[in-house]
Symmetry: C2
Subunit: 170 residues, 2 copies
């Protein structure tokens, strides 16, 4: 039996994330010691490793819930289970294809920069002008319906942008 901190260290999942997984029902509520602290066994560690691996592969929490539920019925056919994995593969391939289109356009935009002034910069021009793009990018993301689900989006880190300019909006 080990504490949540030890489970975090062994699994590579952060402590608050473990509690989050418990809250959303991926991880069973563990027993508690006399001081109301969670105590885990190796079964919990295995399940948490399973969850972590599936998350790393891009499965949603909802997917993982379904996978876990199916794993509790080993006598059933595994078609549905396999379908989840195949869907995830298809999603991954679609993401790759889309990102490769974006990469091509970004490459085009960046390679046109001549190091002059902002006023002449091809980056801004390219961003303002859609018509030079090789093809449609960003499948129905913002405008029309969304075939894509939209996972978490993270902002640029402060170290990433333009560290020389003032840019002090916050």
């Amino acid at each position: 039996m080990f504490s949540i901190g030890q489970l975090a260290a062994r699994s590579g999942v952060k402590v608050p994330t473990i509690r989050y997984y418990e809250e959303v029902g991926l991880l069973a509520e563990p027993g508690r010691n006399a001081g109301n602290q969670r105590r885990y066994d190796t079964a919990a560690l295995e399940r948490l490793s399973f969850i972590r691996h599936a998350r790393e592969l891009g499965f949603s929490v909802e997917d993982i819930r379904a996978l876990i539920e199916m794993s509790a019925h080993p006598e059933q056919p595994c078609a549905a289970l396999d379908q989840i994995a195949r869907d995830q593969l298809a999603t991954t391939r679609a993401r790759i294809a889309r990102l490769q289109r974006l990469e091509a356009e970004l490459q085009r935009i960046v390679s046109n920069c001549d190091g002059g002034h902002v006023g002449d910069c091809s980056v801004l021009a390219a961003l303002g002008d859609h018509t030079q793009c090789a093809g449609p990018h960003a499948a129905p993301t913002g405008a029309t319906g969304s075939a894509d689900e939209r996972p978490q989006q993270n902002a640029a880190d402060e170290h990433r942008i333009c560290q020389q300019q003032s840019h002090n909006r916050q």
Copy 2:
């Protein structure tokens, strides 16, 4: 001068999204008519198209704010501006590379399914067992949509579970 609905139709950006861009300072507050409704001109349409294109290319709202601010100073050198685009290109390439690793593993997992029942399913086995993975992978957090992805350095990313080869299943 046109209404927010007309601007939405022309730009391909949804009405609430336009208001959101105004709220976060990407789009200037437009004038209002006597009934307090927003009225836009073609300059607003152009800026909104710029924003939309940049978002489709994966630039964050924060990036776009910086791009817009720089475009207001056309006499300055465009190195910082170009750097934002280059960073975005690097981020995109990193995401592609990671997704390709995930694709390979998903392909491996899926191709092992023999159509039996859940109890023997290779998908679950593979998800529960990291040791067969070719290399380390991490969660593809931002993926579809117009997302940026922060390489958040959690313990999970550093922890190379998939490289160890001891105690594997076969």
